[in-house]
């Protein structure tokens, strides 16, 4: 009698457990999205990537919870880019976030299926990445860095900071098509600022060294955005050793001793890209997400370098600056 009751109770319990299990099984499994990151950076913790992570966290997508990252950085080596892009595509990531031209082009070549969100790309139209930024076709969209558009402003700031400058070198990566509109903008800004602009495309470290050897006291340098050949670092070193002012594309370089920068804040840029990434992960097609221009443009000044170069930073620049390095 007791054993039968026990058996009945056990079966009821089993049935209940089975129901609970079924109910639990009916809950949709939490999806873990996998994001591939491809850039020319020297470390996985590039400010754009950190900004991206922070932005996604704010939108409810957190690394370790419902998101995982596969970060591939090529330490400035552009020839390593296609292989890294292929590897990411093969790894089966849900989306690839790229920075700058080489990574974006490599990712675009590697896949036509996986959505790509680019960052820090100056002019996607000129680079042939998207034909219509307002309505991107295919699997690519992103946030532009407005670098070409800001060249004039960058030179203007240089001129305000160092009015005596007469000649500025525009040293750029000759293999980067986004440099072409940047050079054109610089050349067109020259006459208005009474600046003699000298564009110099470089393909090898020797070219770069040769170009930098031509820089004379009283000249200035305009750094490109690319990491290829480590051009900005070479410009920074020349600027500090030859005591010539140099203007950079982002505050990162001012942190390393660059005189002045005017351009997108990398962290904020990554943060902005996060909203595009989240939209796509939640079902939008890349072609439904228009290309955006960068939201936050910062002016950063290194007062220590200004001292070193014997420059008195005018009030206009001080008032405008978002960041100082003392």
């Amino acid at each position: 009698m007791t054993s039968r009751r026990l058996a009945e109770a056990a079966s009821v319990l089993a049935a209940l457990l089975a129901l609970v299990a079924l109910e639990a099984g009916a809950q949709p499994a939490r999806r873990v999205h996998s994001i591939g990151v491809l850039n020319e950076a020297w470390a996985a913790s590039h400010p754009t990537v950190e900004g991206l992570k922070a932005g996604l966290r704010e939108l409810g997508l957190e690394e370790g919870r419902n998101l995982k990252f596969d970060i591939r950085f090529t330490e400035g080596k552009l020839d390593a880019m296609p292989a890294a892009a292929m590897a990411l595509a093969k790894a089966g990531v849900d989306l690839i976030v790229t920075s700058q031209y080489a990574a974006t082009q490599a990712a675009k070549d590697a896949t036509t299926r996986i959505p790509i969100v680019f960052t820090l790309l100056s002019d996607p139209e000129a680079a042939g990445i998207v034909a219509n930024p307002a309505r991107p076709e295919g699997n690519v969209t992103g946030v532009t860095s407005l670098q070409a558009e800001l060249v004039g402003k960058r030179l203007e700031i240089l001129k305000i900071l160092v009015p005596s400058v007469r000649r500025a070198w525009v040293i750029h990566d000759a293999s980067d098509p986004t440099a072409t509109p940047m050079v054109a903008q610089a050349l067109s800004a020259g006459p208005q600022l009474k600046l003699d602009l000298v564009p110099r495309g470089v393909l090898t470290p020797e070219d770069l060294a040769l170009a930098l050897r031509s820089v004379r006291p009283g000249d200035a340098l305009l750094a490109p955005e690319t990491s290829n050949l480590d051009i900005p670092t070479a410009i920074l070193q020349t600027s500090l050793t030859a005591r010539v002012p140099a203007v950079f594309t982002t505050a990162l370089w001012v942190g390393h001793g660059g005189l002045v920068s005017y351009g997108p804040d990398y962290y904020a840029h990554g943060f902005q890209a996060a909203s595009l990434v989240a939209k796509i992960l939640r079902g939008a097609r890349p072609s439904d997400v228009p290309v955006e221009g960068t939201d936050k443009i910062d002016l950063a000044v290194n007062l220590k370098t200004a001292d070193l170069l014997g420059i008195t930073v005018p009030r206009k620049i001080l008032l405008r600056a978002d960041a100082f390095r003392r």
């Binding site: 307002a134 004039g152 997400v289 443009i297 008032l319």
Partner: protein, 364 residues
């Protein structure tokens, strides 16, 4: 046996009459309830849509007002300073000095404004004769004393008497901008002109949750679309001034009314489907915020109710059809929810969520 037949017929008659009566009454009550439920659902949807439109319009208006206030605070007019008249002997010299000082101050003020208000990308100052004396920009060259002539431009002529808001224009094909100009001084009026990035408005519109198939958009004073839930439509900058709901809203003027009458219409939506359209005006700017939901979507609860399907979620069918046993539990749950919702929806603040409807809850 012979008595049995008429009695049987009578019984059948009773049954038939009873069935017809009961059935008829039930049918009539169902129809009446269906009608009221239809009306109630429509009103509820309209209330929610309108509330969203009004709230968004208020936020956009506040955004623009804040910017306008900060622009007005930047500086005073050079020739309009009362201090200038108090100086006797060297009035001219003083005025000149004051002019220079104010010009310097203005430049600093403009730089401060650019730092504090990210939406302002460019700000310039036009003197009494409409010539540009100062321009400070995030993207383009700054200019001091460019003397560019704006004396015949609407931005100068209209801003002398009050705030001027230009039609919205697109930069780089997808980013909406507006020119806002305010008068400076009272006697000899100068003008401060700012270019404002409306990305924040796009973000506000994208945040509105209008259920599946619903959308929100904003048109400027000319009736051109510049913000839409679907960002792809922004770059088209479509002229919607001839779209019936926009036309009627514009013809009513943009004066804000608390009365919902006439602010709602059934019309063809931007995608061609029939929609329930409601709007709210941003009076000082002449802009209109529209919220539209597909009609089918909006009336889905009643359509399902009238079909009498077992999955119907409204109370009217309870008395008539007992659902298929497999969905009984689900059905009871829905029924319960529906009853609770109907009780709670009288002065409802969020009636859609509480009415027996499809996924219309508002996400905040």
């Amino acid at each position: 046996m012979s008595d049995g037949e008429p009695r049987g017929r009578l019984f059948r008659k009773y049954v038939v009459v009873l069935l017809v009566l009961v059935g008829g009454v039930l049918m009539a009550s169902s129809l009446v309830e269906l009608y009221f439920s239809y009306q109630e659902t429509q009103r509820a949807i309209v209330r929610v849509e309108r509330a969203k439109a009004v709230a968004t319009a208020a936020r956009i208006e506040q955004f623009m007002k804040d910017i306008e206030r900060q622009i007005r605070e930047t500086t005073q007019a050079a020739s309009d300073d009362p201090g200038a008249t108090r100086v006797g002997r060297s009035r001219m010299a003083f005025r000149e000095g004051l002019g220079v000082a104010l010009a310097e101050q203005r430049e600093l003020d403009f730089l401060r404004l650019l730092r504090n208000v990210p939406a302002v990308t460019e700000i310039s100052h036009l003197d009494v004769s409409g010539r540009e004396q100062l321009r400070v920009s995030r993207l383009k060259f700054d200019a001091i004393g460019s003397q560019d002539d704006f004396s015949r431009a609407p931005v100068f002529l209209e801003a002398r008497t009050g705030t001027y808001v230009s039609p919205v224009y697109l930069r780089n094909g997808s980013e909406p901008y507006v020119t806002l100009a305010v008068p400076v001084g009272t006697n000899a009026v100068e003008v401060t002109v700012a270019q404002i990035n409306l990305k924040s408005v796009l973000k506000l519109i994208a945040q509105i949750e209008v259920g599946e198939g619903g959308y929100a958009y904003v048109v400027d004073s000319r009736g051109r679309l510049f913000a839409h839930s679907d960002a792809r439509l922004v770059h088209q900058n479509r002229d919607l001034s001839e779209v019936p709901q926009v036309k009627s809203a514009r013809s009513r003027g943009v004066a804000a009314t608390s009365d919902d009458q006439g602010l709602v219409s059934v019309a063809d939506g931007l995608q061609g489907t029939r929609v329930l359209a409601t709007h709210a005006a941003i009076a000082p700017l002449g802009w209109l915020v529209f919220v539209e939901r597909p009609l089918v979507d909006a009336y889905a609860p009643c359509a399902r109710q009238s079909s009498g399907a077992p999955s119907s979620s409204c109370s009217v069918s309870v008395s008539r059809s007992w659902p298929a046993s497999s969905s009984r539990a689900v059905w009871w749950r829905r029924f319960g929810r529906c009853r609770r919702g109907r009780r709670g929806s009288e002065p409802a603040t969020s009636p859609i969520a509480s009415t027996c409807g499809p996924g219309t809850s508002s996400k905040r």
